[in-house]
C-alpha cells in the first residue's frame, strides 16, 4: 500500500488520523509505528523483518555504547562495527542490484544511513542513546520517510516522538504540504517521467540534438518532482501526526552556482554527507589538498547515494570538478557575472550531469553527450520532439513554472501581504488540487 495509492489516501490515512486523534499523545508513537510496519509489510512483505532487524541492532548497539562509557576501545569497536554494518548492508544491496538485479528493499538506504548517523552521534556524545524502542523505531522507520527521505538527525527528531502534538492547525498545514507533494509526484513527476521514457526509447543514433536535450531536461524535472513530492508527502504526514521533518528540496533549478544547487537539491542527504564525511574528516580546517580530496570524496558519495554504479561515480567526479572550479578559479570572477548568466551556466551544467542518470552505461552517456553537442551529425529537430512538445506543452510549462520557484515566491508574497486571504485561498486550492490529483490517480 503505497503512499500515493487511493487506498492509503482515502482509507488508511483517515482511519489512522482518527485513531491517533483519540489516543493520548504518548501513545501516538505506537500507533504510527504500527501504521508504518503495516504499510511497509504490505509492499515489501517479509523484508519488513530486515528493516526491523536493522532498527533493533542499531538500538541495541546504541544502548551498548551508552553502557560502556568508560571503555573507549569497546565503544570504538561497537560504533565501528555497527555503523559499518549499516553502511555495508546498504552497499551490499546496491552492488547485488547492479550485478544480479537484486531488489533493494524500500527505504533501506534511508534506514541504514540514519542509523549510522545516529550511532556516530552517540559515539561522539552528541546525543544520549534512546531508551524507548518505539521512539527509536519511529524516527528510523517512519514509513512516509522511507521513500526518499528526508534524512533526519536523531537529536532533532526524537524529542518530538515523546509527545506527538496533533492539532487542527497542524493537520491543515500538513494536509496542504501532503497534497502538494502528492500532486508533484502524481501529476508532474509521473507525467514528465512518461515523456522521458518515450524519448529514452529512441536509440541515440536516431535521436536529434533537441531530442536528447529534452530527454535530459525531462529526466531532471521528473527526478526532482518525484523525490521532492515524496519528501513533501512525508513532511505533510509528519505534521499531521505531530512530527516536524526538514525540507529536502528547495527549488534546485533556481541555483546560480553548483554549491547553491547542492544546498537546494536533496538538502538533507548533502548535509548528512557534509556532517559525517566532510566535517568529520576535518576538511574545513585542513589545507588545499585535504579540501580537494574531501570534496572529491563527498561528491562521489553523494553520487553513489543515487545508485552504486560507474555512472554515479563519474557524476560525483563531474560535480567535484565543477565545485573545485567554482572554489578556486571562479570565486572572484563569479561576483562580476550577472546572476542571469550564472543561472544559465549552472542550469546547463546541471542538465548535462543528468546524462549520466539517463545512460545505462558510461558509453551510452558519452554517446548522448555527443548528440547533445552536435558532434554526431544528428539533426537538430525531430518530429518526435515536436509531437511531444505539442502534446505536453501545458504539463511542461507548469513543471518549469514550479521548478523555477515562481509559485513559492508568489505564495510567500500573498502570505505576507494578505494572510487571511492567503489562508482561505490556499485551503480552496488544496481542495481543488486533491480532487485533480485523485483524478490523475485513477
Amino acid at each position: 500500500m503505497h503512499l500515493y495509492s487511493l487506498t492509503f489516501l482515502y482509507l488508511l490515512l483517515p482511519v489512522s488520523v482518527a485513531v491517533c486523534l483519540f489516543l493520548p499523545p504518548r501513545a501516538r508513537a505506537w500507533a504510527v509505528v504500527a501504521l508504518s510496519a503495516f504499510c511497509y509489510a504490505s509492499i515489501e512483505h517479509e523484508r519488513v523483518l530486515l528493516i526491523a532487524a536493522v532498527i533493533l541492532a542499531d538500538y541495541l548497539a546504541a544502548r551498548l555504547l551508552g553502557r560502556c562509557e568508560g571503555i573507549p576501545r569497546l565503544r570504538t569497536a561497537v560504533a565501528a562495527v555497527s555503523a559499518g554494518a549499516n553502511l555495508a548492508l546498504f552497499v551490499l544491496y546496491g552492488v547485488l542490484e547492479q550485478l544480479y538485479g537484486l531488489h533493494i528493499p524500500l527505504g533501506l538506504g534511508v534506514v541504514c544511513l540514519t542509523g549510522a548517523g545516529y550511532l556516530a552521534d552517540c559515539y561522539y556524545g552528541y546525543v544520549a542513546s534512546e531508551r524507548s524502542l518505539v521512539s527509536f523505531a519511529l524516527v528510523m522507520g517512519f514509513f512516509p520517510r522511507l521513500y526518499a527521505g528526508p534524512l533526519v538527525y536523531y537529536g532533532r527528531t526524537v524529542p518530538q516522538t515523546h509527545r506527538m502534538r496533533m492539532s487542527l492547525e497542524r493537520i491543515g498545514r500538513g494536509g496542504r504540504v501532503f497534497v502538494q507533494g502528492l500532486a508533484k509526484k502524481v501529476i508532474l513527476g509521473d507525467g514528465i517521467y512518461q515523456i522521458y521514457v518515450r524519448l529514452h526509447e529512441v536509440h541515440y543514433y536516431n535521436a536529434a540534438v533537441l531530442h536528447v536535450w529534452m530527454m535530459v531536461a525531462c529526466l531532471s524535472l521528473s527526478i526532482c518532482f518525484l523525490l521532492s513530492g515524496l519528501c513533501d508527502m512525508a513532511r505533510g504526514l509528519g505534521l499531521i501526526f505531530g512530527l516536524d521533518l526538514p525540507e529536502n528540496f528547495r527549488d534546485p533549478f533556481r541555483s546560480i552556482s553548483i554549491n547553491d544547487f547542492f544546498s537546494r537539491f536533496n538538502i538533507t542527504v548533502n548535509r548528512f554527507m557534509r556532517k559525517y564525511v566532510y566535517t568529520a574528516f576535518g576538511a574545513p580546517q585542513g589545507g588545499t589538498l585535504s579540501g580537494i580530496f574531501n570534496i572529491l570524496l563527498l561528491s562521489i558519495l553523494i553520487g553513489l547515494w543515487y545508485g552504486i554504479r560507474l555512472n554515479m561515480v563519474v557524476w560525483g567526479l563531474y560535480f567535484s570538478a565543477l565545485v573545485l572550479c567554482e572554489k578556486f578559479l571562479l570565486r572572484r570572477i563569479a561576483e562580476a557575472i550577472p546572476p542571469v548568466l550564472r543561472w544559465i551556466g549552472c542550469t546547463i551544467a546541471v542538465q548535462v550531469s543528468f546524462v549520466l542518470f539517463a545512460g545505462s552505461s558510461l558509453k551510452q552517456s558519452v554517446d548522448y553527450l555527443r548528440v547533445m553537442f552536435g558532434l554526431s551529425g544528428a539533426d537538430f529537430l525531430s518530429n518526435e520532439v515536436l509531437y511531444l512538445l505539442n502534446s505536453n506543452y501545458l504539463l511542461l510549462l507548469v513543471a518549469v513554472f514550479c521548478a523555477s520557484g515562481m509559485g513559492r515566491i508568489a505564495a510567500g508574497f500573498f502570505r505576507r501581504t494578505s494572510p487571511q486571504i492567503w489562508e482561505m485561498a490556499s485551503t480552496l486550492l488544496t481542495l481543488i488540487l486533491l480532487v485533480v490529483t485523485t483524478a490523475f490517480m485513477l
Binding site: L6, Y10, Y387, L394, S426, A439, F440
Partner: protein, 376 residues
C-alpha cells in the same frame, strides 16, 4: 488562527468523506472482499478502490479533459481527434507478424484450400488527417509496413484482399466508429465490395440492402479507455438484404460446450443482455456458424478465421453463401477447434483488423485443427 483550523477541518472532511460515502453506498464490503483475496490483496483492493471511488467516472473524464486541454491528445493509447477516437497502432514485435504469416502459409500447405488474407487497416491509417498533430505524429505505417509486406510475403499461396485503397477513397464517410476500434456497417459494406470480387463473387450494390439503425447513443471500447466527453456517440446500424427473403440460422458455440441459436442475424433482445453491438450477428463467440436458407446463389462454403471486425462485413457476404463459419482465433480453445472440419469449406478467409494481427499470435492455435479429412 481560526482560519488555520478551518483548513484542518476542510482537509479532514475531504479525507473522511470518501470512506463515509463508500460505506453508505455499500461498496465497503467489496473492498473488504478484495482485501480478503489470497492473490495480492492490496493490489486488488486498490483496483477495487479505483472502480468504486465515489465520482470515479467524473474524475476519469476530468483527467482526460485536463490532459486534452494541456495538448495531450493521445491518452491510454488512443488518439483523441475533434470528433472521434482512434487507436494508436504500433508494432510491438515483428516476430508476432512473422509467426502469423508463417502459420497461414503452413495452413495452406497442410489443407490445400483456396485461401485469402484480408487485413483491415484501422482508422488512424485510413483517416490520417484526423490524427492530432498528424504531420509530426509518430504513426506506424500500416499500409507499407504491414499490409503491403504481408501481401507480398504470402503471394502465390494466399490471395490478398487489399481493402485499404477503397476505405481510403471513402474516408470522409462514416466507415469507422467514433468510439470503437472497428468498422461500421457502411465500412463493412466497402470491405465486402472488395472482398467479394476477390472471392469470385459479384458484389451487390448498397441500395440492395435495407438499413435499420439500432442505437444512436453507443459508446465503444475506445471511449472506455479515453472517455473524452466531447466525442459524440456512435450509431449502430444493421444491414439486411432486402430483395429476397432469407432464413438465417445463427449458432454460437462457446468453449465450455454451450451453444445458442438465433433465427435472425440481429437478435435485438441481446441489447437488453448487454452491449448493443451484440445484436450484430448475436455477438462474437469462439465459433459462429450461419446457415442461410432460400436464395444462396452458390453452394460454396466459407470458413473465416478472424476477429470481431467480421460483424461489419459478414452480413453482406452472407448473400452469396449457403453456409459461413466464423472462428475467433483469439478466444477459441483447442478442443473446440478440433471440431472444425476444414475440408467441408471451399474457401478460407483470414480476416483481421491490423492491430489484432500485429498485437498477438492469432494463428498458432490452428495447429490444433484436425488433419485433412475427406468430405463425408
Amino acid at each position: 488562527m481560526k482560519l488555520r483550523r478551518y483548513s484542518g477541518i476542510t482537509f479532514l472532511t475531504a479525507l473522511f468523506l470518501v470512506p463515509v460515502l463508500l460505506l453508505q453506498s455499500g461498496d465497503g464490503s467489496a473492498l473488504l472482499d478484495a482485501l480478503g483475496s489470497q492473490d495480492q490483496p492490496f493490489q486488488q483492493m486498490e483496483s477495487a478502490m479505483k472502480e468504486r471511488l465515489p465520482g470515479a467516472d467524473f474524475l476519469r473524464r476530468l483527467q482526460i479533459s485536463l490532459k486534452y486541454a494541456g495538448g495531450n491528445k493521445q491518452q491510454n493509447g488512443v488518439f483523441i481527434s475533434e470528433d472521434m477516437l482512434m487507436l494508436d497502432v504500433q508494432l510491438k514485435s515483428q516476430a508476432i507478424v512473422n509467426a502469423n504469416i508463417t502459420r497461414m502459409l503452413d495452413f495452406v500447405e497442410q489443407f490445400q484450400r483456396n485461401s485469402y488474407v484480408m487485413l483491415i487497416p484501422t482508422a488512424c491509417a485510413v483517416q490520417q488527417s484526423k490524427v492530432p498533430y498528424d504531420t509530426v505524429a509518430p504513426l506506424y505505417n500500416q499500409k507499407q509496413q504491414l499490409l503491403d509486406d504481408v501481401y507480398r510475403r504470402v503471394s502465390g499461396y494466399l490471395t490478398p484482399i487489399d481493402v485499404y485503397p477503397t476505405l481510403r477513397n471513402h474516408q470522409e464517410e462514416y466507415i469507422y466508429y467514433r468510439t470503437d476500434n472497428t468498422t461500421t456497417g457502411l465500412g463493412g459494406y466497402y470491405i465486402y465490395a472488395v472482398a467479394a470480387q476477390k472471392l469470385g463473387l459479384k458484389p451487390r450494390g448498397i441500395h440492395e440492402f435495407s438499413v435499420e439503425h439500432l442505437d444512436y447513443n453507443y459508446y465503444g471500447d475506445l471511449y472506455a479507455r479515453s472517455p473524452y466527453r466531447e466525442i459524440p456517440p456512435d450509431r449502430i446500424s444493421a444491414y439486411s438484404m432486402s430483395k429476397y427473403w432469407r432464413y438465417y440460422t445463427v449458432t454460437h458455440y462457446e468453449n465450455d460446450g454451450r451453444s445458442r441459436r438465433y433465427y435472425t442475424l440481429y437478435p435485438q433482445f441481446r441489447e437488453v443482455l448487454g452491449d448493443v453491438k451484440d445484436v450484430l450477428l448475436g455477438g462474437v463467440s469462439p465459433i459462429v456458424t450461419i446457415d442461410v436458407g432460400n436464395a444462396a446463389e452458390s453452394t460454396r462454403q466459407l470458413l473465416i478465421f478472424g476477429d470481431r471486425s467480421m460483424q461489419s462485413y459478414l452480413p453482406f457476404l452472407l448473400v452469396h453463401y449457403p453456409k459461413v463459419t466464423f472462428v475467433d482465433t483469439a478466444s477459441i480453445s483447442p478442443s473446440l477447434l478440433e471440431q472444425v472440419d476444414v475440408s467441408r469449406y471451399n474457401q478460407i478467409l483470414f480476416a483481421y483488423m491490423a492491430d489484432s494481427f500485429i498485437d498477438s499470435d492469432q494463428l498458432s492455435i490452428l495447429s490444433w485443427l484436425p488433419q485433412r479429412q475427406e468430405p463425408a
